[in-house]
């Protein structure tokens, strides 16, 4: 604001405007100021509700933070920090979105999943007070397919994902393989006894081991015959013409190979021929393939 001053004494100008133009702080500063009565309590914020208009945003719950929300009258709302997309030193990231049960191996997520998640990511959630974890093995726009702990039909909470190697994540997950009993059984046509069966995923590569005891069924060179899809959506095209995807051992008896048979989708162990009804106490198969 400016003051332009002129003085006269007995009608004789003594001071010109030029000499006395004074800039002073805007007189309207008080008139246009936001009145103190706008805020009514500790922690309240003054926010603009429109061009030239303000209102009070009453303080949120302890620990909450303000975030922009055009749907709110004040344009701002308070949310818990747990609702923020955040990643801490544990390596887990909160996606700030809801996951819902769809099946034991699938969950529904908001549209746009492919921009957040990728195959091989780890996931963690709480369902019915039980923490479940595993890997994402397929990403659709609104659905994640997972392996690891089986999903249960409950409300999911505390859901996180990780592109890396988060603290507390298991080194492997046990699986229950279904083996072709035509080649390896319990001596009575049932499943051979699984001693150890687990998988782990690093990046997009799935590693697995199956150890079992049972009885050879039929005299031939194949022992383990297992559908690859039991473990993950193998990228079959990557294994065209690449027979070896693992190792096969039968302690004291044989060493062989593990192959993926594209025609059947099976993982097959192959070694020296084993006679029908041979009791096998410790056969193991390691395999590794890209999902």
């Amino acid at each position: 604001m400016k003051l332009v001053i002129s003085e006269t004494v007995n009608d004789i100008p003594v001071v010109t405007e030029k000499e006395n133009t004074i800039l002073i702080a805007d007189f309207d500063a008080g008139a246009g100021a936001v009145p103190l009565s706008t805020v009514t309590g500790k922690g309240s914020l003054i926010v603009a509700t429109a061009d030239g208009a303000v209102d009070e945003l009453v303080v949120g719950t302890d620990g909450y933070v303000p975030v922009a929300d055009s749907g709110e009258a004040t344009g701002i709302k308070w949310i818990p920090t747990s609702g923020l997309v955040s990643s801490d030193v544990s390596g887990w990231t909160n996606p700030s979105q809801t996951w819902a049960y769809a099946s034991s191996t699938t969950m529904t997520v908001p549209s746009g999943a492919a921009s957040i998640y990728r195959v091989g990511d780890k996931w963690k959630l709480t369902a019915n007070s039980v923490v479940l974890q595993g890997y994402i093995i397929a990403v659709a726009d609104t659905q994640l397919t997972v392996v690891g702990d089986a999903l249960t039909n409950h409300v999911f909470s505390d859901n996180y994902y990780s592109h890396s190697n988060p603290v507390g994540f298991p080194d492997y997950f046990n699986v229950v393989p279904s083996m072709a009993v035509a080649n390896f059984d319990d001596g009575s046509g049932g499943q051979a006894t699984v001693v150890k069966a687990f998988i782990t995923i690093v990046g997009r590569r799935l590693h697995g081991r199956i150890s079992a005891s049972g009885t050879k069924a039929g005299t031939n060179t194949n022992l383990f015959i297992i559908a690859a899809t039991q473990f993950g959506p193998i990228l079959a095209a990557n294994y065209s013409g690449v027979a070896l995807i693992g190792i096969y051992s039968r302690a004291g008896v044989d060493f062989g190979t593990v192959s993926y048979v594209a025609a059947t989708g099976n993982i097959v162990s192959t070694g020296a021929s084993i006679a029908d009804n041979t009791v096998i106490a410790d056969a193991s198969m390691d395999f590794s393939f890209e999902i």
Binding site: L3, I5, V9, N10, I24
Partner: protein, 121 residues
């Protein structure tokens, strides 16, 4: 640079002369500020807290005329008033107040008013 309560020393004038100070309030764009509802007060004192040597006001009308539309404040010290000035220097103070409750008060300027003694009035 804008300042609050700038110092402005009115021109000295002779005891017994009529003195007029016209002041126009402009915004930063150079437009006249609408002074509707505002009042002004001009005082002379030998020192802060002392009895006023002169008090001009716009409300009630006593020596100050505000023309709201043009943002003009006109102060007039009559020859009768100045003839009675028995001082050579006094502190001066011009304030502008809004009609808000409480009023917003701003000092437009303060300084020193000098009056030359006349040999014969």
């Amino acid at each position: 640079m804008s300042i609050r309560a700038p110092i402005y020393n009115p021109e000295p004038f002779m005891q017994g002369d009529t003195w007029t100070l016209s002041l126009q309030v402009l915004d930063n764009n150079g437009a006249a500020k609408d002074l509707t509802g505002y009042s002004a007060k001009y005082m002379l004192k030998t020192k802060p807290g002392s009895t006023a040597l002169l008090s001009l006001t716009s409300t009630p009308a006593a020596g100050i005329v505000i023309t709201a539309a043009t943002g003009t404040i006109a102060l007039t010290v009559t020859s009768t008033q100045s003839a009675a000035f028995a001082f050579n220097k006094a502190k001066c103070h011009l304030t502008l107040s809004s009609n808000a409750t409480p009023p917003v008060v701003q000092t437009l300027f303060h300084g020193e008013q000098e009056v030359y003694s006349r040999i014969a009035v």
